[in-house]
Each structure stands twice: as structure tokens, then as C-alpha cells.
């Protein structure tokens, strides 16, 4: 079991990803945007962060860069989970410190396999 911070503004997407991760026995903390995720990250540590990109208040790429500035998140794997397919955005995510990029719709088995690879 690992502790995962899941960030997405879509309730239904959080439900789907949480369901998948729960089936694998992982422990999930949810945030609805980058600002809320950053607040949670100030006082908690996680083994993995999964974040959407397009969210109100703070997007997932800005969140990734901000998390990398926190001591507890320097080496924490951060996976982007997004509907975006743009190469420039992917490069931005990489430069911000993301570990990987998963395009929605995700395959539950492949999502879990990717998590196992990065933790």
C-alpha cells in the first residue's frame, strides 16, 4: 500500500481513479485543484502524486513545479493524467519536474502498472 495524492477538478474522474487505486490497496487523498493540493502537501507526505492539468485556480504543471520546490516532494514521483495530447505541454510538464504523462482515457491495468514502475 502506498499513499497517493490525487488532484483533479472532475468529481467523476476522481471517483474512477480512486476506485482503480483502491482496488490495488492504495490509500488516496483527493484534491480538486492545484491550490488545494499544495495546501495538503504543506503538511503531509505522499509516495506518489497523480494530477490533472486543466484545473481552476492552479493547473497541474504549475502544481508540479511548486511541489518540486518543497523538501518532501523533491523525489516524489508525479504523474500527469490528462486529456491533453499536445507535445509542447508534455515538454512543459517534463521541465516542471513531472515523472510521466498518461493520457485519458486511462486503462486501469496500465495505470496500476505505470504506478508500480515509478514508485
Amino acid at each position: 500500500m502506498i499513499n497517493i495524492l490525487l488532484v483533479d477538478d472532475s468529481v467523476s474522474m476522481r471517483e474512477m481513479v480512486s476506485f482503480t487505486l483502491n482496488q490495488a490497496g492504495h490509500n488516496i487523498t483527493e484534491a480538486e485543484d492545484g491550490v488545494q493540493a499544495l495546501e495538503i502537501a504543506q503538511s503531509n507526505t505522499f509516495d506518489l502524486v497523480i494530477t490533472d492539468i486543466n484545473m481552476p485556480r492552479m493547473d497541474g504543471i504549475t502544481l508540479t513545479a511548486q511541489l518540486r520546490g518543497l523538501d518532501d516532494f523533491t523525489f516524489t514521483p508525479i504523474l500527469i493524467l490528462t486529456t491533453e495530447t499536445s507535445e509542447p505541454r508534455k515538454i512543459e510538464a517534463k521541465q516542471a519536474g513531472a515523472t510521466g504523462w498518461i493520457e485519458k482515457p486511462f486503462d486501469p491495468d496500465h495505470l496500476l502498472a505505470t504506478i508500480n514502475k515509478v514508485i
Binding site: 472532475s10 474522474m13 471517483e15 513531472a98 504523462w101 486511462f106 496500465h110
Partner: protein, 216 residues
């Protein structure tokens, strides 16, 4: 999402990058530029165009920001053939149908929000989901149930709907005003709608319902 505007050729109004392949034209009858979408496509207009489509079993969500008048329409159905993907997730909330439908809705909403829309200003209208295809399962009904469940989960209200029934529909959506005109195709003699939907079903059942994964 970074929103970029394209100056379109042939005097067509400005559109967002990513929608270049959508069929756009001057609609003489309604005296307005129009974008016509096909099964599996979606379009968001930032120029007050008319968006139109013809629906059989497929469903379209027409969504706009009431204040900015920026809005769009999608046109999709859920994949039908789960036999090709027999796995333990089929009877769960993350089955292939739900994952595909979820993204069809999220893509449309994301572009509207990225174009300056606010979630609290969204106005949503639903059309389609007819029992049009002569096959055993009520695909249209499943599409309607999915969209309603999705919107309820997301806390988004449906302002108007014309769904179900047995006839195909032609939908004309004016995102600037939110007005929608629906024409039931009761005397549809050709079967273009059915043929397009069957082709779409086949493409859904043969192409992967999964995005790319890249580790950096």
C-alpha cells in the same frame, strides 16, 4: 490547456487551434457561419457560429458559458463491444464505456473553461439518444443514462433536453444565445444517419480506448 486562435482561410471566422478539421461553411438559410460535427467529433465556437449535427442513437451535450457566450457541442456514443476487452474491470465504475464517455464530456468542458468559461456559468442542454439503430441493445438509452449520471456526479444541471424516442434529430445550436432548434427526422428516407453511426460503432470497437503513456 493553452488556447490559441487561428485566422481561418476563406473568410471563415476565427477558430481555436485543434478544430481545423471540422467542416465549417456559410449557412445561407440561417445567415450565419456554421460548423457541422460528425460522430466522435466536438467543436467549441469562440465566434458565435451555429453548431449543427444529426443524431440517431448518439448523444450531444450542448454546453456554453452563459456570460461569455462561448460554447460547444460534442457528439458521441459509448462503445458497445465489451467482449473484445474481457477483463475484471468490465462490471466496475471504471469500465470502458464510462471511461470513454467521461472523456467525451471532459474534453468539451475543458475547452470551454480554458476559453474563459466558468463552471458556475455553464448551461447544459442534451439531445439524441434515440432508439434508432435496429439492434438488440438500447444504445441510445445507455447514452442518455450515462450523460445524466455524469452531469449529476459533476454537480452540473441540465437546462433543457430532448432525448430518447425513435426518430433521428437534426440539432442546430447557437452558443452565443443558447438557443437550440431540433428537427425530428420523421420522414428520413435515406439511412445516412444509421450508416454513419454504424461506422462509428465499428471504429470504437476496433480502435483502442486508451491514451498514450510516456515516462520521462
Amino acid at each position: 490547456m493553452k488556447i490559441q486562435y487561428n485566422n481561418s482561410p476563406s473568410g471563415l471566422p476565427v477558430t481555436l487551434t485543434g478544430f481545423e478539421s471540422i467542416n465549417r461553411y456559410w449557412d445561407e438559410k440561417h445567415d450565419i457561419y456554421a460548423a457541422k460535427i460528425l460522430p466522435g467529433e466536438f467543436y467549441v465556437s469562440v465566434s458565435g457560429e451555429l453548431i449543427t449535427t444529426v443524431l440517431g442513437s448518439c448523444i450531444s451535450a450542448c454546453i456554453r458559458d452563459r456570460k461569455t457566450g462561448i460554447g460547444g457541442m460534442n457528439h458521441f456514443m459509448l462503445p458497445t463491444d465489451i467482449r473484445r476487452n474481457p477483463n475484471s474491470w468490465n462490471d466496475t465504475p471504471v469500465n470502458m464505456q464510462t471511461r470513454y464517455g467521461n472523456i467525451a464530456m471532459e474534453r468539451l468542458i475543458n475547452v470551454i473553461l480554458a476559453s474563459g468559461g466558468k463552471r458556475s456559468n455553464l448551461e447544459i442542454k442534451l439531445f439524441g439518444g434515440g432508439k434508432v439503430l435496429q439492434i438488440d441493445t438500447d444504445i441510445g438509452g445507455k447514452n442518455i443514462s450515462f450523460v445524466k449520471q455524469y452531469l449529476m456526479t459533476e454537480g452540473l444541471k441540465v437546462a433543457a433536453e430532448d432525448v430518447g424516442g425513435i426518430y433521428p434529430r437534426k440539432v442546430l445550436y447557437f452558443p452565443k444565445s443558447g438557443r437550440v432548434r431540433v428537427k425530428k427526422l420523421i420522414n428520413e428516407h435515406n439511412d445516412t444517419v444509421k450508416q454513419r453511426e454504424k461506422k462509428y460503432i465499428k471504429s470504437l470497437d476496433t480502435s483502442p480506448i486508451e491514451g498514450r503513456i510516456d515516462l520521462f
